[in-house]
Symmetry: C2
Subunit: 265 residues, 2 copies
DNA sequence: TAGTGGTCTAGACCACCTT
DNA sequence: AGGTGGTCTAGACCACTAG
């Protein structure tokens, strides 16, 4: 069909941009619905009278925006948006203590999802620069690291690495290769070091190929890296938790109250 | 030169992936330093014995990861990482009141950057769905909207839209097309409605082309959308601030303390 | 087996930037 | 003017997925 007229080769905008615009509008307006299949690349080629390169450039742009998903050997589809889990920043210590479960499990339950986890590795490593800085130790000093992949409904959701200073973790369950039933936070408290306060710092960025594989990310999905640092009452760092979230599955929430007023609902 | 031997056409991994890996490693190891120019696409073509398509696929992947930047008619360069501004979540009300300046200005100063702003538009609009929900009004109800672009050292940094319910903003300075010297938060307080508490919710995603243009984003840089909602003491929503941050220029920080203990440094 | 997206080649012309 | 990245064509072969 001569839809060719819909693309203007004399325009300032590239043919791929124009085609992407047409599809973007169709998707946002709902005239191409979530999960529906788009024409094949060869069909677009014929319909719009352009080369496959142009079609692919247009579709790839939409993939990067997270609007469509390509499935090799099958087709291209308007992306279904996954449900979002809300992660709340608050006193993790209180959160796990009231439920006697790891924080991740508590929040998953609040969102009606089934949590699980795979322990990836436990061992001693040299602390990377930023972790060392937060732990207030030398760069390259030895720390205990627990790496795990946390899942929601069996879908990878968070890559976690927890770094513990040797003075705290040496010879404890934190160095054990078994899963910690109560979660590391409870373990730390059991060692006689209840966290008194903490800081969270995070940034969003694009994942590297390894992270994209582990989290099974669609193309064009950013990750949010959150560093969570717990301190003792005497301001000694207890742990650095380095969590990497798939950005299309998580949102983050925080609250403040003025002065000492009671916290509202 | 026959660097050709460094790419393996029989590998499972694509030639573009292999080339990207080589360059990624070189960049991370520092053997290609920040700001340095890469060989041209035609040079890579010769050096590795592949077509320009392969070279472009490899370089484009690195662009998406934010590792390199292409400049048309000039060359391809290892990206310089911009300085990061840390945004702290806390009582915005307190923050501006102690400084008598907009929060953005206070935080910019803390980071040693020069803040400025362009007022994009002021007027009445229909509230989008999520804003209406937070303001506890009907979807499509009329609200007052102030849109502005906030800059650091004259570089676009944040796209902001603030939504005010009519009962609050009607006929006030909040509807004025002039810049608000003290910032909107001070204006709201001056109207007799000091915010008592607030919530922040945010997600990371890829920008759309318009957002990418306004924020002058490099390719492959995500944005962080933060919704900030302020409430009166009687839990009445005062405003929804919708801020869009360039993710490569901002990180976000939060703090918690256990119980009523004094806040540490 | 037929159709899909993934990869790759070997060209071409353009707009842009520097010297 | 000469080199750069941006766009585009017209093919080709591959690996994957369905019926």
């Amino acid at each position: 069909m001569a839809n060719r007229s819909m693309l203007d080769p004399t325009s300032d905008r590239s043919l791929a941009d124009q085609l992407a615009d047409i599809l973007r509008t169709a998707i946002h307006s709902g005239s191409r619905s979530q999960g529906s299949q788009l024409p094949s690349e060869r069909e677009f080629e014929n319909d719009y009278g352009v080369s496959r390169t142009v079609v692919r450039d247009a579709l790839d742009a939409l993939v990067l925006e997270g609007l469509v998903v390509k499935r090799k050997g099958f087709g291209t589809f308007v992306r279904r948006l996954p449900p979002v889990r809300r992660v709340s920043s608050r006193n993790r210590h209180d959160l796990h203590r009231t439920a006697d479960k790891p924080v991740f499990d508590v929040e998953a339950a609040l969102n009606g999802r089934v949590p699980s986890r795979q322990l990836l590795s436990v061992g001693r490593e040299q602390a990377p620069a930023d972790v060392a800085q937060w732990l207030e130790i030398e760069i390259g000093a030895i720390v205990v690291v627990r790496r795990r992949l946390q899942l929601l409904d069996d879908n990878p959701a968070v890559i976690s690495a927890s770094y513990y200073p040797l003075w705290l973790a040496e010879g404890t369950m934190l160095e054990s290769s078994d899963a910690l039933k109560r979660g590391p936070d409870a373990e730390i408290e059991a060692l006689g070091h209840p966290p008194a306060w903490g800081t969270e710092v995070f940034r969003a960025r694009m994942p590297n190929p390894q992270e994209r594989r582990l989290l099974a990310l669609d193309a064009g999905v950013p990750v949010v890296r959150m560093l969570h640092i717990d301190y003792t009452e005497t301001n000694r760092p207890l742990q650095v938790a380095d969590d990497l979230y798939a950005a299309d599955q998580h949102e983050f929430a925080f609250m403040w109250t003025s002065e000492e007023g009671p916290a509202p609902a």
